[in-house]
Symmetry: C2
Subunit: 318 residues, 2 copies
């Protein structure tokens, strides 16, 4: 009998949905922390991000259904056995992550971070000019579900939107101008807001180098909702300190967590949130994850191809 | 010859625009602070908010064109002579003020104020669940240009919108449900975000009483972009302190400026900005004010009725 280990925090109604999708499977519930190596070794299907180090290329494992969009820890050779399918939860996070980063950008345009700092000093002080999303050119780098949702929101509030994709495609709703990655350097100088949603792959590490940061406007706001290592942190620190950027809104950092003594914490023109835009912070996200998992359980039960299958070469959904 | 005193910070191009609107008029430029009582006494038209106390009901004054939307200080008996026309700058601020308050509300939904406080302590700490504008019911109280712009933005990002108007009207774009002021108590319990843009008149003072605050959801966010005295500050403090509201975003307070030792500063679930959402903080606002003033100069030169004429009874545009 196919054994399913579920380590996402599934409540009664979620368990019912998962079990109904594959009634003949046997379900065991645990948490990423409490799941024993034995439970993992016995599982044929795992739902949720068990620690990669505990999987040990188990030959029993047919499918690892992640509850994250990011796959970096699981595409490393030796983590999964050859033949184990890997699926991510792309799509579940689009609303939560896109909204979080979008709102960080809007709030920086209105200097709400600086007013919050003033408030801590009980200071009724004017921080001067602000800008408007309606007059902004917004560049979205990485047009998966999250980036596309971001672009649509920016467009809905009047922005001009530019999108950068990895692969050629049809026009994308909400994106006024669409380019491939090799055009990045040409569009960076035009953007008032740069929102990056790149996954953690070899190709994206350090993509925002000192040179690329220097291409951005002094008045630009850089938002990172992908992986922290897309940005050269030291170069970003220098750029922000020297007012070569207006600000940065970061839900991901490198390293992560950001150490308490890291100088980035103390710059007033950076706004840091602790990698919380995704996770299960928006209730709807978790519902979407359960739906993705249930669908893939059903596909496995019926011997059908799964959704959201990850390509081990790229770390992206195939 | 008609004498025009301009006390808004008009640059070369603004002066050219104003003078072109009424070439036969004589223009004098100053600031609200530097304008002497003599300059004010001689002026037939004043463009900009000179201190109300300096006008002394001058019989020479035909038109006072304010650069503010609010008119409270100028409709007080004895400030303007009978027959002096008063015009405000309604419309100039809609984008700036609506965006500022809207973004405060969005940022509170994502707990960005709490994450900013954590950042001050270099603390990588999770603040838990957030909510989404796309799932929210947004109540806009006061559907002038600002409130209408606010409702349209909320609608564009997926919210359900309810509007409260003073007077019956046609349906308003972006407003799903439209009611008159006497329905306020019935709709307050439904709102996730309450955005208030009421001017400072006798009828609006204290409208958000302890009783009305108690009608709001415990999870609601109250935004005030009108006048601070619309809210009973003590009652708001108690509600926030006792978590009877999720939060308040205030660009206006009562009193104003908020004294350094006021307890409101120290509540973590209030976000205070120092009455800066309007002013000239968004460049476009000033351009719009100049356009309104130029149009009214032209109307005066031609003996036409002016735009944005204020009703001394209500303080609103007629």
């Amino acid at each position: 009998m196919t054994k399913v280990l579920v380590v996402i925090p599934a409540q009664e109604e979620h368990r019912a949905k998962l079990e109904a999708a594959a009634p003949e499977f046997e379900f065991v519930y645990s948490t990423p922390k409490d799941a024993t190596e034995e439970m993992i070794a016995e599982a044929n299907i795992i739902i949720g991000n068990v620690p990669a180090g505990k999987i040990k290329a188990s030959e029993n494992l047919q499918l690892l259904q992640l509850n994250s969009a990011g796959t970096d820890a699981y595409i490393v050779p030796g983590v999964l056995a050859k033949g184990t399918l890997l699926a991510n939860a792309t799509g579940a996070y689009s609303k939560a992550v896109a909204e979080h980063l979008f709102i960080m950008g809007l709030a920086m345009q209105k200097k709400l971070h600086l007013y919050r700092d003033n408030q801590a000093r009980s200071a009724w002080e004017d921080e001067g000019l602000v800008t408007s999303i309606a007059d902004s050119t917004v560049l979205v780098v990485g047009l998966g579900d999250i980036g596309t949702h971001f672009a649509r929101m920016a467009k809905a509030l009047g922005a001009h939107t530019i999108g950068i994709k990895r692969r050629a495609s049809e026009p994308v709703e909400g994106v006024d101008e669409l380019y491939l990655t090799d055009e990045l350097d040409n569009v960076l100088p035009r953007a008032d807001i740069i929102a990056s949603f790149l996954p953690g792959t070899g190709a994206t590490a350090g993509i925002y180098s000192a040179q690329r940061l220097a291409l951005m406007k002094d008045t630009a706001i850089l938002l990172n909702g992908g992986r922290g290592n897309a940005i050269d942190t030291d170069a970003l620190y220098e750029a922000l300190k020297n007012k070569k950027l207006f600000g940065a809104g970061l839900d991901v950092t490198n390293p992560e967590p950001l150490p308490e003594d890291h100088p980035l914490w103390k710059l007033d023109n950076v706004w840091i949130t602790p990698h919380i835009s995704g996770g299960f912070h928006l209730k709807e996200t978790f519902e979407r994850i359960v739906n993705i998992a249930a669908k893939n359980l059903s596909h496995m039960a019926k011997g059908e191809p799964i959704d959201n299958e990850v390509d081990f070469e790229t770390g992206y959904r195939k």
